[in-house]
Symmetry: C2
Subunit: 355 residues, 2 copies
Amino acid sequence: MVNIPKKRPTLREVAEHAGVSTATVSLVVNGKADGAGITQATQEVVHRSIRELQYTPNRMASAVVTGRSRMVGVVSAMSRELFDTKFGPRVLSGFARGARRMGYHFVFLEDILSIDETNHFPVLKTASEMCLEGLVLLVDIGKEEQIREIENRISKVLPNVTVQFTFAPGSTPGFRVDHKAAAKEIVEHLISLGHERVGFGARNLDVVRSESVIALLENSMAQLGGRFDRDLLFEIPQKERMGEFVEAIRRKRPTGLFTLYDGEAVRAIGALREAGIQVPEDLSITGYGNFPLSKEVTPSLTTYRPPMVEIGEAAIRHLIECIEQQRDTILESSVEMTGNLVIRGSTGPVPVSVS
Amino acid sequence: MVNIPKKRPTLREVAEHAGVSTATVSLVVNGKADGAGITQATQEVVHRSIRELQYTPNRMASAVVTGRSRMVGVVSAMSRELFDTKFGPRVLSGFARGARRMGYHFVFLEDILSIDETNHFPVLKTASEMCLEGLVLLVDIGKEEQIREIENRISKVLPNVTVQFTFAPGSTPGFRVDHKAAAKEIVEHLISLGHERVGFGARNLDVVRSESVIALLENSMAQLGGRFDRDLLFEIPQKERMGEFVEAIRRKRPTGLFTLYDGEAVRAIGALREAGIQVPEDLSITGYGNFPLSKEVTPSLTTYRPPMVEIGEAAIRHLIECIEQQRDTILESSVEMTGNLVIRGSTGPVPVSVS
DNA sequence: CTGTTAGCGCCTTCAA
DNA sequence: TTGAAGGCGCTAACAG
């Protein structure tokens, strides 16, 4: 581009052009004209001038005087991996939509949750410099405790909301997937296919055995007239050790397997098929996440689509609404949103021989 | 959070506290103290006051007077699908890093490339309102022409750079993957495994037959002493029609297959294996993108990792450097960056029976 | 109903 | 080397 210092028109120029005062223009621009009782005619004149001069208000200037920037910050406290490839991006889309609809903008702040030399949080400094009116925190799985302190510090200074990715109940209320509803929908699907022996698999034994996830399953099964067998817990380890997983499946003979990540489901399917156990003929498997490749694998993956865009939008809207109404952002309890099960090829009727 | 109108200190207060003038503080804050010949001692005093009062400069205010906001906009002109699940997010990480390192921030603007009622681009209005100093455009695959007009309009008003996702040469120079180097690295890998009959597959016949991609392959093969056979072009259609693909493979017998998207590679592998053609034993396949599930599939996918984070960082740095030095952002030619091949299980030695 | 006026927090000549 | 003063573009009383 060529350097064109084409100065933009100011509010005063618009006022002069329209033959009114700057106050009038200001009111019109900010939609307070009706409230202040400016004639329709005058408003028309002002609008015409605005159009003719191609005037756009300078938000920086109004931010200075009102103390309101109409900007919020989105702070990623997530591993690059999680953010890049899993839920992060869809959440961002939601933020963008929510902010736009509320007439706000957001700046994206990454990797700035560390404490600096002087025991200050860079993110707070940035927020202050940029006059951010609030903060959305993306809280990584398993990082809840680490984030705790900064959450507290931020809460003392700025309106904020958190978007949580953990499956366990959060330490603080936040915006998150309704994993309970998700589990129920998945289990419902499996049960409707005749499955009674539904197991749970995850990469990590910690996750596998975590009470919160087990509770999820026990609940869902119970609600649907089944029973979750605590023996049907499976570790889905690195590829090299998948033999153990296959063995365990052979031994315990579940007919359905529930996972919390598409990657684990895909890994399981691969190992099982190599070992001659067919999916979904011998075993139905569900994923979680609906990642792009999940529809391309063979068999295509039945998986839960978490409503990340919706969560992002809801979170930022709540934040902005609280800012506007000067309400506390604090949540009584987490806002849990439901997605939907995408039924594809990795789940099928329970095998006759076993049922 | 509780509503605490704890007023932040102003530059004037710092000046009073330090017993100097506001001008002095301003110079110190903006790092121009040495240039203006402020005593080290004075600077010390000022810094101490800044610390004690916890002063942070108000960028909105300085933006008003200098006309410099130190903010740029990132404009997504990509389908949600592409942005969410493929390259977008990684590019964003790059932007975040680049901007942070340059002391800038960026606001993310989505879906605002459409023309509004009055034939104005909302994005330009936003840029003006927010005093954005430049724009990064994310140009979707296949949208180059649609974007052209707005690119031109923007270029007349604001410094800008584009990040391009297309495989074809761009109509305007931009930041992009060095697809040529990528193709070469992939082909090199295949040739080193003994493959001579390397084909190309894509979802779309348009893509399959596109001269730019074919040129990519012909070039790579030629450079490595091979020859690309134009007969080895394959459509990798929707799952239901994959029979045709398998037939074509059977007929033409390539030993290696190059694709431009992990999803297509995975779909191909699935169909082939169902038909009894083993990967990589009978046919080696490479993907493109290195999506999260690509390492989980069986066989795990050999795929090219495009350097999206690096591209994002390079693009925004170039933009900001040009802004700072008041240089034109125009590129003589595209900046093409190389990623690397992630070698996994879907490629292997050429089958003995065929070679 | 509209205009006048006094700042918002900061930067930048210009004198001293 | 530092301080005083004016102004950036805008808003918000308040006056009329």
